[in-house]
Amino acid sequence: MTIKNVKKRWKDIPIGGVIVEPKTSLRNKTGNWRVQKPVFHPERCIHCMLCVPYCPEDAFIVEDGKLKGINYDYCKGCGLCASVCPVKAITMEDENVEQENDEK
């Protein structure tokens, strides 16, 4: 997790602790919280988009009305998406197993 403006000194901080830039939490990569990992199976997906509003992390990648995948930078692996998907196009797997596979 890197926060770009760590070098700011106290004089640079806005009065009253105001946060002047919007959307800055995008720097906090919450993906490293994951214990379980949702795996997307595009061949089963009917693109109903039900999973998209139910994701607390807003981690779904949608392009041209089609679900393209999951942004693992932010996904916390809660499994809510898998629980709402009507066709089981998302399954939960153990994060560690996956990572080991990735590393090989």
Binding site: P22, K29, P56, D58, L80
Partner: protein, 324 residues
């Protein structure tokens, strides 16, 4: 709004916030902001999980102007913002149209912020108040609030040999809001997403104050698994623990009646660890008591809605005749 339309909208609450995995609160907030996406929005929030997790200094998850003041005055703060906006637009200093939303948890709404909410509703500011009700003070470690349900174990109403969880019935915020004679009050939960976003939209389009109370399952307090927020809130609807209804200009409208498929309250309680102690055989009478009271409240609500249905019908008929 359906999920497809939602998926094409620009989000106004971004990733990288620090709420627990599977928390329903970001779902509620993001859906609310998406329902209002046609308008320019200014949001305020009471102290609570939402404020703490979305604005970790120096970062913010918000894509709309957002203001936080203290625990008790989300509604008072937004009243001030709305009044300033009105004054400035009268003077021609602001030309864009804005809408205002205040968010509060159950602690910041049912308990600590109740009088500031009441004041704002009575003054008739043009804003939407959304209470995401997770039934406890979660940001400080799970204390009971006046929204915690009867029998639930919390850190300040723990279940033990003498006390069996919270011993008071939960406060009915809906009735309190309705008593202010405001144009729109509604109850929703994430388990029925289209219904919830419909209510947000109605609320934001209401001219005058509107309140939407949303049941928002909490992973920690309710002791549920991170993927159960949706299923549990569906059970809350089906068991009539959390009926879906609106009160429009003082008239009750029931949005969903499970009818014969109404589930026993146990089914709602079973997946939740905070009710575990009630499933011991010696505590059976507590569940029976809760069931009885839920049934009574549900019947009362149905009667109310039935009565108002006739009224709304006759009213619209006489309106039609008046026009002829």
């Amino acid at each position: 709004m359906n999920p497809k339309e939602y998926s094409e909208k620009e989000r106004a609450l971004y990733s990288g916030h620090s709420s627990c995995a599977g928390c329903a609160m970001p779902v509620v907030t993001r859906s609310a902001l998406a329902s209002a996406s046609e308008y320019n929005i200014v949001a305020s929030a009471a102290t609570g999980c939402l404020e703490v997790t979305t604005t970790i200094y120096p970062t913010s998850s918000w894509g709309v102007p957002w203001i936080h003041n203290t625990f008790e005055n989300a509604a008072a703060t937004i009243s001030g913002v709305e009044s300033a906006y009105k004054a400035l637009s009268r003077k021609g200093k602001i030309n864009k149209k804005y809408k205002f939303i205040a968010f509060g948890g159950d602690g910041g709404t049912y308990d600590i912020g109740l009088q500031s909410l009441s004041g704002a509703l009575e003054r008739g500011h043009n804003f939407l108040y959304i209470c995401y009700d997770n039934e406890g003070y979660m940001n400080t470690g799970g204390q009971r609030s006046s929204a915690s349900p009867f029998g639930a174990s919390t850190t300040t109403s723990p279940a033990g040999t003498v006390h069996k969880g919270k011993e008071q019935w939960r406060k009915d915020l809906m009735k309190i809001a309705v008593a202010h004679n405001i144009p729109y009050v509604a109850q929703a939960t994430i388990g029925n997403w289209p219904d919830m976003t419909m209510k947000f939209k109605k609320g934001i389009e209401t001219n005058g104050p509107a309140v939407v109370v949303v049941l928002s399952p909490c992973i920690l307090l309710w002791h549920i698994k991170p993927d159960e927020a949706n299923t549990v809130s569906r059970l809350a609807i089906d068991s009539c623990f959390w009926p879906l209804y609106e009160v429009i200009n003082g008239r009750y409208v029931l949005n969903y009646d499970p009818g014969k498929r109404k589930k026993p309250i146990e089914e709602f309680m079973k997946p939740q660890g905070r009710y575990k102690h009630l499933f011991k055989p010696e505590n059976r009478h507590i569940i029976d008591f809760i069931q009885k009271r839920i049934d009574e409240e549900w019947e009362e609500l149905k009667r109310r809605a039935e009565f108002d249905k006739a009224y709304i019908k006759s009213n619209s008929e006489s309106e039609k005749q008046g026009r002829n």
